[in-house]
Symmetry: D2
C-alpha cells in the first residue's frame, strides 16, 4: 500500500528572500514532495497561507505521515491547528520535523520541553554520523555523510531523552548536535531531523532526501487511526472484568462522565 505523506511548509522565505527563492523555486515543500514521489511515496503539500494552513481535519485524516518545515512564522500557526496536528499524531499519524521546526508549535507540544539549542549561521561544514547500527531511517546512507554548508545547531538540545538517537552531527566550528532522534507519542511516531537551513541547498542533497524518505516509511503506522485519542472511558461496575461490588462512597453517579 502506498504511504500518503503531506509536506507542510510555512512558505515564507522562498517568497521574500532572493537566495532562498533561487535555491527552492518550487518551495522547500515542493522540492521535498518531488523527492518523496520519486521514492514511491504519495506526497501532497500544504502551506501556512492556505485556509486552516492546509491542514483540515480531512487532510490530516488522509495523511499517513506529515512533514513540517517552519522557521520565521511559528507564531502565525493557529493554536487550534497545532493541537489538531498533535491529536492526529496521538491517533496514529507519523510526524517528521525538519530543522528549524524544532521551535514549531506541534513539536514543542509533543515533546513537552523547550526544544531550544544554540545556533550559528556561517555556512560551515556539518558531518552527520550514524549512531544506531542498521536503523531503518539510515538505510542506504553512508556513515558519515557531509553537508559542506549548513547552519550550526549546538547542544544542549532541549528535548526529552530520545527513544533512539539515529544521528549525531559534528560541526566545523566545534559543536555537536543530536541530529536525528525518535519518539513515540500515543499511536504516532515522531522523528526530528536537523539539516535544512533555507539559504543552503540541503534539500537537494541525495543523502538528506534518502533519510527523509526512510523516515516517512519508518513513521508510517498501518493500524487504523484511533477515533478519539483523548477518550477516558468509564468502566461501569457491572462491566468490570472480575465481578466486584461497589463499596464506600463516591463522587460519580454510575456511568457518569469523568472530570477534565
Amino acid at each position: 500500500m502506498t504511504i500518503r505523506a503531506t509536506v507542510w511548509n510555512e512558505y515564507h522565505h522562498e517568497q521574500t528572500n532572493r537566495t532562498v527563492a533561487d535555491i527552492y523555486p518550487d518551495g522547500i515543500h515542493g522540492t521535498i514532495a518531488a523527492a518523496l514521489q520519486a521514492a514511491g511515496i504519495e506526497a501532497a503539500t500544504a502551506t501556512l497561507p492556505e485556509p486552516e494552513h492546509g491542514l483540515t481535519e480531512e487532510r490530516l485524516a488522509q495523511t499517513d505521515v506529515l512533514l513540517w518545515w517552519g522557521h520565521a512564522r511559528h507564531g502565525d500557526v493557529d493554536d487550534a491547528i497545532a493541537q489538531r496536528v498533535a491529536e492526529a499524531v496521538w491517533a496514529g499519524m507519523g510526524l517528521i520535523v525538519l530543522h528549524s521546526g524544532h521551535f514549531s508549535k506541534p513539536f514543542k507540544k509533543l515533546m513537552g520541553t523547550p526544544c531550544n539549542l544554540t545556533w550559528r549561521e556561517a555556512g560551515e561544514r556539518e558531518r552527520i554520523w550514524l549512531t544506531a547500527p542498521n536503523h531503518p531511517i539510515a538505510a542506504g546512507v553512508p556513515n558519515p555523510f557531509v553537508l559542506e554548508n549548513e547552519e550550526m545547531y549546538g547542544e544542549p538540545f532541549g528535548i526529552p531523552e530520545p527513544e533512539q538517537t539515529v544521528f549525531v552531527s559534528w560541526f566545523q566550528g566545534g559543536e555537536v548536535f543530536r541530529s536525528g532522534a525518535c519518539w513515540t507519542r500515543g499511536a504516532g511516531k515522531v522523528f526530528y531531523f536537523r539539516p535544512g537551513h533555507e539559504t543552503y541547498p540541503t534539500y537537494h542533497d541525495a543523502n538528506v532526501l534518502k533519510v527523509i524518505a526512510n523516515a516517512v516509511e519508518w513513521a508510517y503506522n498501518p493500524a487504523a487511526r484511533i477515533a478519539d485519542p483523548n477518550a477516558a472511558p468509564n468502566v461501569p461496575v457491572e462491566s468490570a472484568p472480575e465481578k466486584i461490588e461497589r463499596r464506600g462512597k463516591g463522587l460519580h453517579a454510575e456511568g457518569e462522565e469523568g472530570f477534565r
Copy 2:
C-alpha cells in the same frame, strides 16, 4: 539543606462534598503538607482560589518540588500559570503529579500526550507492586502494599514510555495500571503517582505518604535554577570554539536574534 515543597490543590470537593470534607478537613493539600513536614521537608500549600492560584513567579522560585492535585477544575487553571509551572520544571523544579492530576494542564503539557486512561469508582482493592528494585521512591515501602478502597485506573495510560516505571497496580476488578512513573523534562524531574481518589482516605495511608515524601527527595535538583530555560543563544562566528569563516549566504545579520 531542607527541601522546600509546595503542595497545590484545586481545593474543591473538600468544600462541596460531605464525604471528602470529612476525610480531609484540612484539605488534601493540608494533609499532605503535614506529612511532608513530619518527614523533614519544608512544606507550604497553594490552591486554585488564591491569586494566580497561589503560584506566583516568586513562589515557584522558592519551590524546590511542586506537588499537584486536581480533578474537577482542571479547566479553571489559567493557561499562563500552567505554562509557568512547565517552565519552572524545565528550569529545575521537581513536580509530583497525584492521581487525577493526570489530566491537569501542567502534566499534559510536560508529557506531550493525552494522559488518558480508563476508570471506575467502586471502592475496590488496589495492590501496588514495586517494579524497580531499590528505587529511592520506594525506600521503606513494602512490596506490595494494599489500598483497600480506591478508584480504578486502567491501561492504556496515555503517557510517553516512562524513563523508569516504579510501581504497577493490580485492581480487584481485573485491571492493571503503571502507577508510578518517572520522566526528566529539561533540568526538572517529574513523577506521577496514581493513588488518591478524594472519597477514600488514601492520603492518610502511611505507605502512600512515604512514597510521596520519597518522591519529593528524588525530584529535588540542588543545581541552581536555569535562568531562561527557553534561551536559544546565537554563537557569533568569531566566538566559534574552532576558528571558522563565514561562507555562503545567510538570513541573519551577525548577532541577530533567531526566529521563534
Copy 3:
C-alpha cells in the same frame, strides 16, 4: 519478501511429561512453527538435542527472527551457542523470547540483568492488557485478552527498563507482570512475551499466536546482516575526516589492532 523464522525449543518436557506431551504432541516448537507458517512466515525448527542445538552459523545466517523456548535445561545450552545467538542479534537477527526463556542464556546475556521474577504454578487466570496503543505487536488482538489457566509470573522482573512496554498482565492471585517488552541490541530487536507454561494449552490460543506472529514481523530487520558486530576499527591519522597531525606520545604503532 518472506520472513524466515526459526523456532528453538529445548524439547524436554514434551518427551518426559505426559501432560505436556498430550498438549504438544509435535512439541512446542512444532505448534508455534505451524502457526507461523499459517501466518505466511517461513518457519523452521531447532532443538537442544540436535548438533550445535540446531543453531549452526549457517542456520543463524538464514534466520531473520529466532524464537526461544526453554525451561528445565537452560544449563545444558552450550555457552558458545548462546554467545553465537547474541552476536547474531547484534548483527541484525530478531529474537523473540518466550515465557521461561527469561532465564535462558541468550536472554540474560542480551539484557545484562538477572531477569528474575516471582512465580506460582496454580493454573490461575491471566488477563493481558495492552499498554501501547496501536503497537504493531498487538495488531488485531483484543484489549485485554484472557488465558484461563496460566502460571503466574510476578514483579519485580529483573530486566532493564523496556524501550517499549506492550503488555502488562493481571493475575487472579493478585500479582502483575510486564508481559510484553521490547529492546534494541545492536542491529537486532528483542521482544519478551510472558505466556506459555508447558502444562497449559497456551500456544494453541489464537491471541497468543497472533502476538507471536506480529512480533516476528516487528523484529525483522531487512538490512543486510553486519559482518562483524564486534569490529572496532582503527581510523589511521591520514584517514581522519578532517586533516590532523599526530601529536604527543602513543601506545600504538600506526594501523595496529586495538586491545580487547
Copy 4:
C-alpha cells in the same frame, strides 16, 4: 554518610610504558583515588595483579561505587570476578566505567551489547559538550570543556540506548562520540565516561576529575544491598495475595525450586 569508592585498574602500562609511568607514577588508580579523597569520598584501590584482582566478596560488599579502568589486559580478568562485579551492581553497587573499559568484561556483561567503537590515537583535541541540562554528573563543569590531547573514539558506539546521555564529544579529526551515558541495571547505576587514554594526562584534568567525583555521588545507592539479586522465589498457592485454588496440572510440587 561518607561514600566508599574502590578504584580498580589493570595497572599494566604504568609498569611497562615509560610515557604512562611518567604521567601516572602512582598509577591511574592512585591518581583518581587521591582526587576522590580530596572530594570527600573514601577511596580505596584494587588492581589486576592482586589476589582475586583485589575484588573479593568482602571488598565489593564494602564498596558503594566501583570505578573501572582497563585496556590491554581485559582478557586476563577472571570470568568469575567479572560476574561477581555484575552481581554486585545488580544488588545495588554503583559502577563507573572509564575510557577503554568499554571493552571490559563487566561493562560488556552489563550492557548486553558489543560496546565497540572506532578509534585513533593522534593526540587530537576533544571538546566535551553537556547534553543534559543541570544533570548532577555535570555539576560545576563548564559547557563545553576541552582536552587538548586525547585518543579519538567514534560512533557508532555499540551500547544500548542510554537512559540519559550526559556528554557528547567533538573531535578535531571529525568524529563525534556519546562520551557520558547512564544506565540502571537492577538496583545499581552504571555510568560510562569516555576520556582517559593513558598516554595523555587526562586524569590530572580538573574537569575530568570533577565529573568522576560527581558520578560517584550520582551512582551511590543508599539502600541496603539486595541479598540475592538472582532470587526467583516461588509464591505458594496458599500465600497468594488473593485467595485462589490450584487448577489444572503442573510440573512442580508445591514449594519446589524453579528451573534455571
